[in-house]
């Protein structure tokens, strides 16, 4: 299980990485943490002729927390994201999701950008990106910088809009304003650390009186891409949230799904998991939002 031969190049900057991609064309591939890419190379399912390492580019590892926006470098390692105090305060959903990502050894190498470009439909970080409609910054030598919404970034299993000459450089996420915020991530995997059979995440903002101000909800593993299903929860806005409402939303979401089947889960089972996870993440996020209101009070 040795990869096909390739040549290795280490890029010192984003510009150099883009230049190398431009120079070597579609046979070149970027590597950062390599936790998804290397197994595929070992099985010779992916066989780049040129491997361009962007993992040591400091500019890609930056984490910037501003009042409304969080900007995460593509090569921020997962363990750094999980333990970052400012990020934990601004967007706790990231750390909540990372608990489910692989194992300590893979989180020590794995990066945010690597997870996004790998685009496994059941992966955790792409799901969070979709739920929060992250803006994904892509850079190429030919066309400079462009920004793609996470909801448009993923096009199918293991596939994205990223062009062969592009480097994912950063991910911008909005912080929701106001108090009363709560989020939750949950998934069902057969073993802890495996890719999820299905996953769900939610973020809820409550007004001081407990009515829903804003809600986001997304599901992983139930389609070719992570699904934003916030629209199904939009009816909650302005309402008090309770189990009946939560379950109604979950049912309507589940009914609309046509999940894929594989060795470990049928389509029907995945749909049922999606329903359960919708209920669970909405409940937990609501409970956290309420707790946060209580803290404020």
């Amino acid at each position: 299980m040795k990869p096909a031969p390739f040549e290795y190049l280490r890029a010192a900057s984003v510009e150099e990485a883009c230049a190398l991609l431009a120079a070597h064309g579609p046979d070149a591939k970027l590597i950062a943490g390599g936790q998804s890419l290397v197994p595929m190379m070992a099985m010779r399912l992916v066989r780049p002729a040129w491997l361009i390492d962007v993992g040591d580019i400091d500019a890609l590892a930056q984490i910037s927390i501003e009042p409304d926006t969080v900007t995460l470098g593509a090569c921020a390692r997962q363990y750094v994201l999980a333990a970052h105090g400012g990020l934990g305060a601004a967007l706790p959903i990231i750390a909540q999701a990372l608990i489910w990502v692989g194992h300590e050894q893979t989180r020590n190498r794995g990066t945010l950008g690597g997870s996004l470009v790998h685009a496994d439909p059941s992966a955790e970080l792409p799901l969070v990106a979709v739920m929060l409609d992250a803006r994904i910054g892509l850079q190429s030598r030919a066309r400079g910088r462009r920004v793609v919404s996470a909801r448009e970034f993923f096009t199918g299993p293991m596939s994205t809009v990223i062009e062969a000459d592009e480097c994912l450089v950063e991910v911008r996420l909005d912080q929701w304003s106001g108090q009363g915020l709560g989020s939750a991530f949950d998934e069902v995997a057969i073993r802890h650390g495996d890719f999820a059979l299905a996953s769900g995440c939610a973020q809820i903002a409550l007004d001081p009186d407990g009515r829903v101000r804003r809600v986001a909800l997304a599901l992983g593993g139930v389609a070719g891409v992570p699904l934003d299903v916030s629209g199904y929860a939009a009816s909650l806005v302005g309402q008090f949230i309770d189990d009946t409402a939560t379950e109604a939303i979950a049912r309507s979401v589940a009914a609309a799904l046509d999940p894929p089947a594989d060795l470990h889960a049928s389509s029907e089972y995945r749909r049922a998991l999606a329903l359960t996870l919708c209920v669970r993440v909405l409940r937990t996020a609501t409970a956290r939002a309420r707790a946060s209101l209580t803290e404020v009070a």
């Binding site: 040549e7 290795y8 290397v38 390492d53 194992h103 300590e104 893979t106 190498r109």
Partner: protein, 186 residues
Amino acid sequence: MSDRMNEVSVERARERLHEVRLQVNGAWRSGQCAARTSLVDFLRETLRLTGTHVGCEHGICGACSVMLDGRPVRSCLMFAVQADGHSITTVEGLAAADGTMSVLQDSFCQTHGLQCGYCTPGMLIAAQALLERNRCPTEFEIRDAIGGNLCRCTGYQQIVDAIRLAAARLNAAATGAGSGVSAPAA
């Protein structure tokens, strides 16, 4: 066929060797390898440090765990060229310079936290990383720390016992108290 052959021959012809220099267990070591050589193959085949084991080569079993700059990683999921200039700790580097086993290694012997020994180097690396950041781990934290390391012999029970014992002994040593903690047998 001949096209494909030519293509691969070209690939082969251009597979140049890279000089890789690592600080392994405190000492700088270097060797040459192809870009596609994994870190674990480099450690084992080039540097002949065979303590680190190959289990699955696709990042699941954890047998190849080593420390990279003080953090546990899977050495089958890294190319040696990526580790150039970095610091690596393998199982061979866990004992003191004079060969005295670390408290953790000794605790594995005390509870018989291994059988065939094949996953053991990876387990030790994972456990070492845990104890370096958490001297009072709960059972869940211990299991989570080794959750990415598969063992087929032990059912993990005596490994968990070993890590718990090591934590207790390290704490006892740190506080100067010795009671209540099994000493290593002669």
